[in-house]
């Protein structure tokens, strides 16, 4: 089969402030009809720039060289008309911002068809409704009149796919199309893309950082790093016999949902630990205020949640967006006040503390946030940031504090000299190490980590998870680990609590939950998560839908609780 699109030696150079950087260098690949090619890489690998170059959407300060043959013309030649829309379609990562907020779905779906002369307005409307139906959107008639903010993230991504498919392109480029979505929605969107490729025989270029997504969808893989092609080949060979060391390292770094984690061996010891912190019947409802006089919608973020955290264990809270997992973490750290319930640490109910005793209790529970770019004060030297909790909670002298900061930096894998630097001088992974050092500085008994690795590249994520596992083993750190990523949780947690719509549906030892999930929602979540193993049968995952049991927890096996 001859190639639909043949890219040869594509290079992109970005010029800014008199400095030229190569963002992509000599990238070559072919895409055939009905083929799914995945371009894989971490941030800065040049995978998105390659896509933008093909679309002619590079920023004005970028120059491109090489060839990209499509329909007998070179897309990269100067003055060549771009084949946007009818030739090549593009789907973006963030469905929340990729649709124009002030125009109806209908307008956005039909306008290009009309402008490009594919259909008259009435015909365009008819096709748009049929396409919405095709991509699995219920009540398509009504959707046409709605605005993007009235649809969920998954729905918007379907609209986006419909919008591009209406122009009948021969190539579709999907740039991280599921990264911003919940795992169950991600599974549905990947299924949809696979179906579309099968039915319409278009070529799909799937850009992603997620090896699981690659294994589930692609036939061929191109691995990129720092703008260069590291390795290319059929998906089965890349996964089973990668020739480049970088590919192997990338695969090794991916947490495996289908294999037990490194910390599993310590479960026995942790299970024997005493209860450190206990949350009882915690409820929290958020009221969205519609105006000064109007009371808005109420959202139940936490609905009668009870759980214990034991000394020395890592307890994971798992759930999709809106499950209440972050709210529970914030209630325990008193960043959000609960409506009802108690959180006891030792003899104290944390939720009723005020003033001095609250400040004293805060020292014992420290937090690590998701985004290390936002959680460190950019105007403060990192040494000052780390020393702050020490200064507040102890009476150490300045020199002693500096010693302590140096020790903490060394503990998280940095050097004491780095204390004098500012956050912007560090990479994302280093910043998260700094955030961990800051959390440890106060000498906490519990660390609440809210998605601490979600903003990091997979190889960096592996390092941070290793660091957290080390701290747990060597210092007996107790941690509440909040995450949407089941594979990460399986690797690091001793016990796991599955949350949905403000309630805990299943709670038990990690291995027991994985190998013998008792609640249907847990099973659906595990089924939906992509597994980096191309030999697994594809498209067998069932979408999560319907009602689940949300009643009181009942002990189904020793230490394994399930909602009834």
């Amino acid at each position: 089969m001859s190639a639909l699109l043949a890219v040869r030696d594509l290079s992109v150079t970005l010029r800014s402030g008199g400095e030229a950087r190569m963002l992509a260098q000599d990238v070559s690949f072919d895409v055939a009809r009905g083929q799914i090619l995945s371009i894989v890489g971490e941030s800065g690998s040049g995978k998105s720039m390659t896509a933008k170059a093909l679309m002619g959407l590079l920023p004005p300060n970028a120059t491109v060289s090489g060839e990209a043959w499509f329909r007998g013309a070179n897309l990269l030649a100067k003055g060549s008309a771009p084949c946007r829309g009818t030739g090549i379609g593009l789907i973006f990562q963030e469905p929340m911002t990729a649709l124009t907020p002030v125009l109806t779905i209908g307008t956005q779906l039909t306008e290009a068809m009309v402008v490009l002369g594919l259909a008259d307005p009435a015909e365009a409307r008819r096709r748009a409704i049929a396409m919405l139906d095709r991509v699995g959107i219920p009540a398509p008639d009504r959707r046409m009149r709605q605005y993007p903010h009235e649809l969920s993230g998954g729905m918007r991504q379907r609209v986006m796919i419909a919008m591009m498919m209406l122009l009948e392109p021969e190539i579709l480029i999907a740039d991280e199309p599921t990264t911003a979505l919940d795992v169950t929605v991600q599974a549905q969107i990947l299924d949809l893309l696979r179906d579309i490729v099968r039915d319409t025989r278009i070529g799909l270029i799937l850009i992603t950082h997620d090896m699981g997504v690659v294994a589930e969808t692609a036939q061929d893989v191109l691995v990129m790093k720092a703008g260069r092609t590291i390795e290319a080949g059929p998906v089965a060979r890349i996964f089973t016999a990668p020739s480049a060391p970088y590919t192997r390292a990338l695969l090794d770094a991916v947490p495996r949902l289908d294999r037990p984690g490194s910390s599993a061996g310590m479960v026995a010891g942790a299970a024997a630990g005493k209860t450190l912190l206990s949350a009882g019947h915690v409820s929290k409802t958020f009221h969205a205020r519609a105006g000064l006089f109007a009371s808005g919608l109420a959202t139940r973020a936490l609905d009668d949640v009870s759980l214990d955290i034991r000394q020395g264990e890592t307890l994971a809270l798992v759930g999709e967006s809106g499950s209440g997992k972050s709210t529970l973490g914030r209630v325990i750290t008193r960043l959000t006040d609960a409506d009802h319930g108690a959180v006891t640490l030792g003899e104290e109910n944390l939720l009723t503390l005020r003033g001095k005793s609250l400040r004293a209790a805060r020292r014992k529970i420290q937090m690590i946030f998701q985004d290390p770019y936002a959680s460190l004060d950019p105007r403060q030297r990192i040494g000052t940031s780390i020393a702050e909790p020490i200064a507040i909670h102890t009476t150490l002298s300045r020199a002693e504090r500096q010693d302590r900061v140096g020790g903490l930096l060394a503990r998280v894998g940095l050097t004491p000299e780095m204390a004098a630097r500012y956050p912007h001088e560090f990479s994302g992974g280093q910043r998260q190490r700094i955030a961990i050092a800051r959390a440890l500085a106060a000498g906490p008994v519990l660390i609440v980590a809210d998605e601490p690795t979600s903003a990091l590249d997979v190889s960096i994520q592996a390092q941070i998870l290793d660091l957290l596992a080390d701290l747990k083993r060597e210092e007996g750190l107790t941690m509440l680990f909040i995450s949407h990523d089941l594979a990460v949780v399986r690797q690091i947690a001793d016990r796991v609590a599955v949350m949905r719509q403000g309630r805990i549906l299943e709670l038990g030892p990690t291995e027991a939950v994985w190998t013998a999930a008792r609640h249907p929602y847990t099973r659906a979540l595990i089924d939906a998560a992509p597994v980096p193993d191309p030999t697994r049968p594809r498209g067998v995952r069932r979408p999560v839908s319907g009602d689940f049991a949300i009643g009181a927890l009942r002990e189904a096996a020793l230490g394994h609780w399930v909602a009834t």
Binding site: L90, F92, T100, P101, V102, E111, A112, G291, L292, A294
Partner: protein, 307 residues
Amino acid sequence: MWRFLSTRIAMGALTILATTVLVTLLIHAVPGDPVQIMYAQSQGTTPEQIEEVRRSLGLDRSIPVQYAMFMERLLQGDLGTTIRGGQPVLDVILQRLPNTLVLACSAMFIAIVIGIPIGFLAAYREGSLVDTGLMILAIAGISMPHFWLGLMLLFFFALELGWLPVSGNGPLNLILPALTLGLSNAAIFARLTRSSMIDVMHQDFVQTAYAKGLPKSLVLRRHVLRAGFLPVVTMMGLQFAFMMGGAIVVENIFSWNGVGRMAVEAIFQRDYPVIQGFILTFSVVVVVVAIGIDALYAVLDPRIRRA
């Protein structure tokens, strides 16, 4: 949509109510006896006359009673009578208010038709010499005080060139004061439009529009303009209030017979009923404009309508 607007209208009514309280207290905010001060400039006023005025203004009663009296008269459409001349204040204001509104609206029109296209052009050519040049012009426009720009326009177009009349109240007389008030606001609109449009042009949904194969002109017209217009609309409401304030200065420079000039005269003459009426009228105009802007906002942005 209607719920959104009805809350806005209720808030506006509250704002005006708060103004009435402030207006009643205003007379006591000035040190000394207000009636004494009012008549300080006129000779031959007997203590009996002063006592009579004090009683007629209700100044011999407690402040809450004064407020109640003020509100009672206000609800009957009575703002009192002027100290000088004894005409009903409402008539004096209504007679002059149209002049000020015509001036402010003309200035607004000038600000919009000059400022927004300039801002859009600068955004379209971001980083070019055209952009830099236009923005230097805009900063000059913002930095120039009204009275200075007004005097300069007066000097060149009225005195040197003799194209336009120096002062008075005809259609031709409107041009110079409206330009004075409009140009500096045009500069503000130009800067805001530029930054807002540039902001929108870098958003994902604009990339989506290009990815669909839409031509640049349509992307700008349909996707960028409307979204980028929202902050400008907010600014229009705020600027209209400032323009009403700016009218006070400009009306005096060009002897334009509006409420601004009336207010300055009243302040010099300590004509309290007129000042009270002026403040109240002003607040009503500003509140009405603000509600109008909110309605426009809801039309432009579907996300507001639900709230």
